[in-house]
């Protein structure tokens, strides 16, 4: 089964999985956009702008890093080789462009990030499947009943762990009820993703090490987890709630007023209703 999957979707066909996940995530995010008071079309454009910036920015950053190679063959700038991309440069370009677009459209940062959470969660699932198809992000050698034969040894199926964790995260956000506090969905997603990476990285066989034997990805994931939890705890209450355009109502100090005062305040409301009904009747006549 796994062999068939890997044969069918071996690189470069594994990219189909990421594209499919992005499309699925985009559809989910569009459907839920209204929940975060974000226009679905604006969100759609935001994602496309970001993806375009990711592709172009990644290529330009890579070309800047290898300027002599591109100076000798400038046409390589438009080649279809996806290897010619700097992932950090691509990410920076996507973030900057996304922020600029969001600002131009008057989108609240936290609302936009919340609306994008399902897109990110679906993309993470696609990335896991892509890793499984290509054999990237492989695990350490292991003698477990569920170990998979990969790169000349039986290994932890870290790509499957990654898919399970991503599916659980996606499911959580799919069934999660709307939280009125802006930023909470995105921060929770960041915390969960960081936590799962922190755990799964321990079983990876391709970790980059630092300080002798510590895994860089785990340290980065721990940092993101700490920031996300701190932000959830301390930043969230300070963020202004989403302003919903509803008709202004008079706030009544019910608890502090006596019963007498309450009745005196509510009476005019009833009168207002009556007058409204009367006016509609007259207009009909």
């Amino acid at each position: 089964m796994l062999a068939i999957f890997r044969n069918l979707l071996a690189p470069p066909r594994d990219l189909i999985l990421i594209v499919a996940a992005a499309w699925f995530g985009l559809s989910l995010a569009e459907k839920r956009a209204a929940r975060y008071h974000v226009d679905a079309e604006v969100l759609n454009n935001l994602i496309f702008t970001g993806l375009l910036a990711y592709i172009i920015g990644g290529r330009l950053f890579y070309a800047a890093e290898h300027i002599s190679a591109f100076a000798q063959s400038p046409l390589s700038l438009i080649s279809l080789n996806i290897t010619l991309s700097d992932s950090w440069g691509a990410l920076a370009a996507a973030i900057i462009t996304g922020l600029a677009y969001a600002q131009r459209k008057g989108l609240s940062l936290w609302s936009a990030l919340d609306a994008l959470t399902l897109f990110f969660a679906a993309l993470a699932v696609g990335l896991g499947f892509s890793h499984l198809a290509s054999g990237a992000a492989f695990g350490q050698e292991a003698s477990l009943p569920w170990a998979i034969n990969l790169w000349g040894a039986m290994r932890h199926p870290t790509q499957i762990y990654e898919i399970i964790a991503s599916f659980l995260t996606l499911g959580l956000f799919w069934f999660r009820k709307a939280d009125s506090k802006p930023g909470s969905d995105f921060l929770l997603f960041a915390a969960l993703t960081a936590a799962s990476r922190l755990i799964i990285e321990a079983f990876r066989g391709d970790s980059t090490l630092i300080f002798g034997d510590l895994r860089v990805a785990q340290l980065v994931a721990w940092g993101i987890l700490a920031i996300a939890l701190l932000a959830l705890e301390f930043l969230r209450p300070k963020i202004a709630p989403i302003i919903v355009n509803e008709p202004e109502e008079e706030i009544l100090p019910i608890k502090t007023e006596s019963k007498k005062a309450k009745s005196s305040v509510t009476k005019p409301k009833r009168n207002n209703l009556k007058t409204k009904k009367k006016s509609t009747k007259t207009s009909k006549a």
């Binding site: 190679a69 591109f70 063959s73 390589s76 010619l84 895994r215 721990w222």
Partner: protein, 180 residues
Amino acid sequence: MQPIQRRAVYAILLLAGLVWIFLSADKTGASTAGRIPAPQKGFLAPEISLSTPKGEKYTLSELKGKAVLVNLWATWCPPCRAEMPTIEKIYGEYKDKGLVVLGINTTSQDSPLDIAPFLTQYGITFPILLDEVGSVAHRYDLRSLPSSYFIKRDGTINDVVIGGPMSEALLRTQIEEILK
């Protein structure tokens, strides 16, 4: 949950994360993949021992100390044909700096009679090896043509490019990396 309780949970989570980082530290060097052969970045390049159409034998392990580009191709594969002139051009530029290019024809899935005219048509000067029984295709887990493996002087794979055609800039950047 009260804010104090929540903060305590967060603190415990972060502390547990730190403990996990130290517990799962790679003390045995299990994450270094360069000791066993596999067609993947960071691993030792699987052995190649094949002959050219003229009978000249090449063995990858004997090329240790040189940067090697292994390119698996077939005459019927359009991207393979498209990238051949670029590989030839780059080979001409870098062969004096220690670059060896091994063009491995997947003869088990190609027509042997087409190979010689192909080499003449593209003016190929780097060694072309014939994988007649598909042993290298099997060892390199070949799933798409062309497939290129950039092998460092120490025999480990620096990068793998599946599919093509490879652009000139891609070849230059990858080759400059393995020549370091």
